[in-house]
Symmetry: none
Subunit: 227 residues, 2 copies
DNA sequence: AATCACTGTTAATGTGTGTTAACCCGCATA
DNA sequence: TATGCGGGTTAACACACATTAACAGTGATT
């Protein structure tokens, strides 16, 4: 599984860059923005797994930003940072769907632990080695699609890698860029076309399974549908 | 949905009974136990959805209790209460899989908000996947409009996203701005015109359904009418 | 009634995707 | 060194999707 992507929005550059550095050191892919408006732009541009938002910020405060983000992605968890212990703020934040609330000054260690506690609930179970795909058993290690009373299908490495990603994102969009970076290490035009070719190949392998479908999400990526 | 069942283990009877009373008033089915050993017995006897454990307790402390509970139910979320701000304690607690940590003294309101934040993540999201639209079954995942004795209609991603929003707001106004932010990420003039085009497309798909109508609410947005 | 902003619809445009087949390259075998 | 094969990439063509343009129609306001 790839790195968790965090959107960090904090106007205090000292604290912001320190936090960013710390989070990166802890293995999170972290994007720091200095105000709510820039944070919103970043969110429109990229995909994130968690938001850490300062409440008091110029241009657009953390709560307003959270409201906007919520419309676009109602599922994403967020943590608010606030300098003042204001009860109404906390209440407001939680009602906006905050997953946690941290009062400055806080220890980075505690922030990290709270992030992990949230991700534990949010992210799906670990690195699965085998998946059920329709009637097939997909063994990601052996790169094999096995079905009762049928010759196993050998998958090539690329086929297998791609199918594994699709399985991990079952019924969710697997973004092109994400898959390209994960498998091809590079999201160039030709790699993207290459990926399309592999989607075709996987569809052929899976066309015997009526409950399974790989559908395209225009401009975003692909989705493995299973019923 | 039934009441959420909370196991509260706290040796300070004053605080314990106060909390219990408060949680019951807030609609939680709450069981108070005064030490870790009794807490464990209660857990063996009944089913709970959330645990709130004091760390410092006679007979069996909160951490030890959490370890025992974890073996029986690895999924259950818990919140630790502690009187002292001890960093090592917090660390230990989170490593045990704590979902949250509250330092005494705390406001009951904050505890409630933290409980709700955790339950929001824990209990399955009521995110509806399929809708009945006239005689059609609309599968938002597969992006399909299916009707008996008829070829299913494949919807494009945008068509599907928009219809899903309309369904969620059935018989209410789906505001332009909201839909634009949710689907197009941006409420510019051109995106708004694009949305109109999709409304036309959806109306065409649904014109076979006499009970279904997408009407315009001038200056506001659209409304999916179903009888 | 006149005006302006909002909406309905169709069609043109450019970009994204599906698919097949040709191509390239490394590797094992002869 | 040649040969064939498997895995992966590139090319080419057809088609689908989303946006934009253009024009017609509607509602609100004066």
């Amino acid at each position: 599984m790839d790195k968790t992507r965090i959107l960090l929005v904090e106007d205090d550059m000292n604290l912001g860059s320190l936090l960013k550095e710390y989070l990166i050191a802890k293995g999170f892919d972290t994007n720091l923005q200095v105000d709510g408006a820039k944070g919103l732009l970043a969110f429109k541009r990229e995909h994130f797994d968690l938001c850490i938002l300062d409440v008091m910020m110029p241009v657009k405060d953390g709560f307003t930003l959270a409201k906007d983000i919520r419309i676009m992605d109602p599922e994403i968890p967020y943590i608010f940072l606030t300098a003042k212990y204001m009860k109404t703020d906390i209440l407001k934040g939680f009602n906006l769907g905050a997953d946690d609330y941290i009062i400055k000054p806080f220890s980075m260690e505690e922030l990290l632990l709270r992030i992990e506690a949230i991700l534990r609930r949010t992210t799906k179970s670990s690195n699965q080695e085998t998946f059920l795909v329709g009637n097939f058993i997909f063994d990601t290690n052996k790169q094999l699609l096995t079905k009762k009373d049928a010759e196993p299908i050998k998958l090539t490495t690329k086929e297998s890698d791609l199918l594994k990603l699709l399985c991990q994102y079952s019924n969710q969009v697997l973004e092109r860029n994400y898959a390209l970076k994960a498998i091809w290490k590079d999201d160039s035009y030709f790699n993207a076309r290459s990926m399309d070719v592999y989607i075709t190949k996987l569809r052929k392998h899976l066309k015997s399974e009526p409950g399974i479908q790989i559908i395209n999400v225009h401009g975003k990526g692909y989705k493995l549908i299973r019923e």
